[in-house]
Symmetry: C2
Subunit: 239 residues, 2 copies
DNA sequence: GACTGGAACTAACCTATGATACCACAACGG
DNA sequence: CCGTTGTGGTATCATAGGTTAGTTCCAGTC
């Protein structure tokens, strides 16, 4: 399970060993249940082991904006390492299994090994790059393009994690969730999905999403996967 | 000048000394000029010494989304340390003086000192937190709220940097720039500004912005400054 | 087989924002 | 003194997307 931590970077065997020995506490959350509520102080970072989760912010009048979506292997909460008060909440989308690692041990580990620090740091930087892509989507793309962009991103991330192939993926996000991620209403998500289906781009039924025209979807979104850094070599530490 | 680097964190004197000795190359850019163009590989991080800059992404059809705005003292490009190919471009808003530090030396420095690494890492995490606030603005706030939120953020950041006081600030962003930051058109920025002026919240003339009703503006945006971490103590390294 | 509760889906209407086009003004140069 | 250029400002119309209020379609389950 915890091997996934190391799989994100190319580490020496001793470092991999140290990561494997990390004390973790796993916990299962039901769909929709909050994992972190953005008020208190967070003392642990977490790794999603199974299921999907998301980070979100609430506004007055109960509006919700989803900030990021996580699939197994993601480490959504690394920012707590150096900013102990989270500025967001985190919730399970599906039933999800999450592993928690105390900040203190993680900080000791990264203080002791610049390579591990760089690998974790890099994870947080990729998160920021994904944030930037979302900003651009929300600010300058219309509903169809936004939707297409999100699907492209999620599919490639799942494929890289070995959780999807053949342009087919599990899609547990419900229409209201998609709405909160895309800055739309669920009604308009529905309209938009129908449009994409009629154009022969995607087909979504009973949680199963098939991308029927990957090239078309990618062109619609003007999707450039570079920001996800799925193929990068990690920058070798100069130490 | 470079003292600003250290001012972001509380470092030991030896570490401050090391920072001061960093080899830097300063360069002046004209307003609107590109500082980084998001294609190549970046070998330097930069510090804004004077003037304002921004990061942006371009879309097909020439649409532009501004991702972040930087004032003197900010280090917009730290992510290049571990992700060498930037996913965005960076441009000067006003005439701006920027200092460049080679990634290699900065990486050596942070490999040698976990405290410096943590301080720099923390900067990138704050950037990500600002990204999240923008995502929420773009996704779930209307034009007036978005505008108000941006003004609150910029004013507090400037005030913290000692560059604004008395609810008065220099505002070099033009209406088309604001439009690209807020995901609106310049026409609608103009409408929105007039609305806020008529409500007695702000007054902007000839680059000088006066916040006439701070409480009202803050309430309109539902602004919570916590994400900017202007008052935090830095987490002490466990090393 | 009827009943429930949660999605997905639709339709009717409304509004915030976009698109286009134009005017006003100030700064500047010849 | 007159053009030119950039920026702010306004009006008019068009439309993407929001709002409200449903109906339909299941998968359980009693």
């Amino acid at each position: 399970m915890i091997r996934r931590l190391g799989s994100a970077a190319r580490l020496s065997t001793t470092e991999q060993h140290a990561l494997r020995k990390l004390p973790v506490a796993t916990r299962t959350f039901e769909a929709q249940q909050d994992i972190i509520y953005g008020d208190g102080t967070s003392l642990h970072s977490c790794v999603v082991l199974d299921g999907w989760t998301c980070c979100y912010q609430l506004l007055t009048e109960g509006k919700r904006q989803i900030l990021s979506i996580h699939v197994p292997g993601d480490m959504p909460d690394l920012q707590g390492l150096h900013l102990p008060q989270p500025d967001f909440s985190m919730a399970a989308i599906t039933r999800a299994v999450v592993a928690f690692v105390p900040h203190t041990t993680l900080r000791q580990l990264s203080d002791g090994s610049p390579t591990i620090a760089a690998a974790l740091w890099r994870e947080t930087l990729i998160t920021a790059a994904i944030h930037r892509a979302w900003i651009t989507s929300l600010g300058r793309r219309d509903a169809r393009q936004r939707f297409a962009h999100l699907i492209c991103e999620l599919y490639l991330r799942l494929e890289a994690a070995g959780l999807a192939s053949d342009h087919t993926m599990w899609m547990p996000l419900r229409q209201p969730d998609l709405a909160d991620a895309l800055g739309l209403t669920s009604v308009h998500v529905n309209r938009t999905m129908r449009a994409l289906r009629l154009e022969g781009l995607i087909d979504l039924r009973s949680r199963q999403l098939v991308i029927q025209d990957w090239a078309g979807l990618r062109a619609l979104a003007a999707f450039n996967p570079q920001y996800l850094r799925l193929l990068d070599q990690v920058v070798s530490s100069s130490a």
